[in-house]
């Protein structure tokens, strides 16, 4: 047994809040992200619930139309920039990447802590923008020109907040790439890395290559608002479509920043609960990289109705279909991993399977939108909203829930009540599908997104979706309540409660300060279960 204190008990740099705010330990930084992000997430959920209420007749005048615009902007900005994009890499990447590859910390621990401060600074700027200047931004999270250039609301500060958040994301990406290249344990070749590490590696490259484009686009918006440089302004020879291109050159790859680490976490969970190696390890690893590659070339499928040339439309439609291939490869591999495995049905597996189910709906509706003819019909409708919630929330969100359930005993050294988690799953799953499948149907019927009011024929479906949102919130409260209770009152967890074989399960729960007593030497692949030895 180790003689080192666990990272939670370590008092070398003081105690209390200060010790946490100055700790460069990757595990503590991971928890800082966890707590801050879950808080932002719950705030944005609250905003979402208010938006759903507005679509019920008795509550129609709960907020004013302008406030409604601010609410969906805020909901989007918080969810995208403060939760879904940084979510899995910042929380589980920070906490587990060094452990998974057998390192004591990330390559640049101080930079890592600085990234968290950038994250919080960006968040605070975004929050300040609500209460200062011309009032809360009302453009939607996409800040489309020319409206974002002309509206009187406080866009500049919000956009600057997003710029700072981008910095945090980029620096984390750099940190992870260097960590993976330089700090793998002896014998840990690239193809012996757990798939989570592969997913984080491809994610980091997208963060590195895409985020600066967002940064410069946002800088141009600020310059335009202050100095009128005219690059997006047709009156001065500029072009608002250029804004859309630049914005989506970042923001579409960002979708893969959101989903890839989730896929990585699922690839960790499935082998552990099937007690067999993942099916098609290399195919999954390469599909991560090819999603990162092809996914960077599909951005203009957000702009099919914007008046681009027919030829450009066709090219981007084709590329969009192609990116579905590596995603499907992953799904088939996951399902094949289950086949003939000795399945141990535990809460993380339940959530992982839910992820696969919801992600399939999200992914397939995405392919539908990639088809030009359908796209014209459903562009800017609730169908889009339903689709990306299936991917972002059903995909990334549920992957994050699954990952949290999987690694919770390791992170906190406590076990939660499995029955309470099963109980929370039911309202989560039912509510989720009522809400977002309802949106898919509404979109097909023609309900446009971002509208404050709707026509009577849409009302019954809005009621259905809104009731779903209540169930969803109930499930979320049960889920987080269970985990919160477990942090304080949970039973002590073993070092390896699930029978996993990757490196994090070889060390105590919670991990000691420097993770490993001695750096391990790796001789096998990551999912080497004893029963499978040939």
């Amino acid at each position: 047994m180790t003689t080192q204190p666990s990272y939670l008990d370590y008092t070398g740099n003081g105690t209390g809040l200060k010790a946490w705010l100055t700790s460069t330990d990757h595990k503590r930084v991971g928890l800082l992200y966890l707590y801050s992000m879950i808080s932002f997430f719950l705030v944005a959920v609250g905003i979402g619930v208010v938006m759903r209420l507005v679509q019920l007749y008795p509550f129609q005048h709960l907020v004013k139309a302008q406030t409604y615009n601010a609410l969906f902007t805020l909901h989007g900005v918080i969810m995208i920039f403060l939760f879904v994009v940084p979510g899995l890499p910042a929380i589980f990447g920070n906490f587990f990447l060094p452990i998974l590859i057998g390192a004591k910390d990330v390559a640049f621990p101080r930079l890592n802590l600085a990234s968290w401060y950038f994250f919080m600074a960006g968040a605070i700027l975004a929050i300040l923008s609500l209460f200062t200047g011309g009032g809360a931004p009302d453009t939607g999270w996409t800040f489309y020109a020319p409206f974002s250039l002309k509206t009187g609301t406080n866009i500049s500060l919000a956009v600057f907040g997003a710029f700072v958040l981008g910095f945090s994301s980029m620096l984390t990406g750099i940190n992870f790439i260097v960590t993976i290249h330089r700090l793998r344990a002896p014998g840990m070749t690239f193809f012996r890395m757990p798939l989570m590490a592969w997913a984080l590696y491809s994610t980091s490259w997208i963060q590195l290559l895409a985020t600066p484009i967002l940064a410069i686009t946002l800088v141009l918006v600020i310059l335009e608002r202050f100095f009128g440089i005219g690059i997006f302004d047709p009156a001065k020879g500029g072009d608002p479509l250029l804004y859309q291109h630049l914005f989506w050159i970042y923001s579409h790859p960002a979708v893969y920043i959101m989903i890839l680490p989730g896929m990585g976490a699922i690839s960790e969970i499935l082998p552990t609960f099937c007690k067999r190696p993942i099916f098609g390890y290399k195919a999954i690893a390469f599909s991560s990289m090819s999603i990162a590659g092809v996914g960077s070339l599909v951005w203009a499928h957000h702009m099919f109705t914007s008046g681009m040339s027919e030829f450009a439309n066709m090219v981007f439609s084709l590329l969009t279909m192609i990116v579905a291939v590596p995603s499907a490869i992953k799904v088939f591999n996951w399902v094949s991993t289950l086949y003939k495995g000795s399945i141990d049905f535990q809460p993380p597996l339940l959530f992982a399977l839910t992820f696969i189910f919801l992600f399939c709906i999200g992914g397939l509706t995405g392919v539908m939108q990639g088809a030009l003819a359908i796209n014209v019909h459903i562009h800017d409708t609730y169908f889009i909203v339903g689709h990306f919630h299936y991917v972002m929330f059903g995909g990334t969100g549920f992957a994050l829930f699954a990952a949290l359930l999987y690694w919770f005993p390791k992170m906190f050294g406590k076990m939660y009540s499995k029955r309470a988690i099963y109980a929370s799953w039911l309202p989560l799953f039912v509510g989720f599908n009522m809400l977002y499948f309802g949106m898919l149907i509404l979109g097909m019927m023609g309900m446009p997104r971002r509208y404050y009011v709707h026509l009577p024929q849409f009302h019954w479906m809005h009621v259905f979706a809104t009731v779903g949102s209540w169930l969803l919130v109930l499930g979320l409260l049960m889920y987080f309540g269970t985990l919160l209770y477990a942090i304080f009152r949970g039973k002590k967890a073993d070092a390896n409660p699930w029978g996993g074989v990757s490196l994090e399960w070889t060390i105590p729960s919670p991990p000691p300060l420097e993770n490993f007593e001695t750096i391990p030497t790796i001789t096998t692949g990551p999912y080497h279960f004893a029963e499978e030895e040939k």
Partner: protein, 199 residues
């Protein structure tokens, strides 16, 4: 933290990756530039003639020389010649100032002629020329910010050389600052033909 971890190769790798992000940052502007130049070739040609190519080329020489002196300071520190390293680094900083001063005169002249974003005079020019100057001020302005940031980093490293924390044994900070300065230089080398030699 209790463990001392040193990996100069890793630090340089991190710096190179950061430079990649800087390249992409300017890449967004280069995309905007190419789209607009494709749309308004004649206007760009015409507006480019307003810029002073002699000053642009002078500034190129100034920046290239300053990159050379950074390299020389790294060589000097490797040979443990601290005072020479300090001298070369200070020269780099000085040349950075010269660059900014020349740039300042250029901008001032443009403002004097009413060629600045949102000016009444600019609004009378054809749209293509307005965009040209919008891009000119955005791109050289952002580059100027990078020059200032680079000088800040160099000054910080200069302080470490003076204190002796950057020395013949451990000079990765100086190397990284130098890399950053080279990037500032490289970007300028692209800006020069795109704007000053566009005519």
């Amino acid at each position: 933290m209790t463990h001392v971890h040193r990996d100069d190769f890793g630090s340089r790798l991190g710096m190179w990756l950061f430079l990649v992000t800087e390249m992409v940052l300017f890449g967004g502007l280069f995309i905007a530039y190419s789209a607009m130049r494709h749309r308004y070739p004649m206007e760009f040609h015409h507006a480019g003639a307003e810029l002073n190519a002699v000053l642009g080329i002078t500034n190129t020489v100034v920046l290239l020389t300053s990159s050379l002196t950074v390299v020389l300071s790294i060589v000097a520190i490797q040979r443990n010649e601290r005072s020479r390293a300090i001298g070369f680094l200070s020269t780099t900083l000085g040349l950075g100032f010269v660059f900014l001063i020349i740039k300042g005169f250029e901008w001032a002249a443009k403002f004097h002629h009413g060629l600045y974003p949102n000016s009444a005079h600019l609004a009378t020019l054809p749209p293509g020329e307005q965009v040209f100057f919008g891009l000119y001020f955005s791109m050289t302005g952002l580059h100027g910010v990078h020059v200032i940031a680079g000088m800040g980093v160099l000054a910080w490293v200069l302080g470490m050389v003076v204190k002796g924390t950057v020395n013949a044994d451990k000079y990765v900070h100086l190397e990284n600052a130098g890399l950053y300065w080279h990037l500032v230089d490289v970007i300028w080398i692209f800006l020069l033909p795109l704007f000053y030699l566009a005519a």
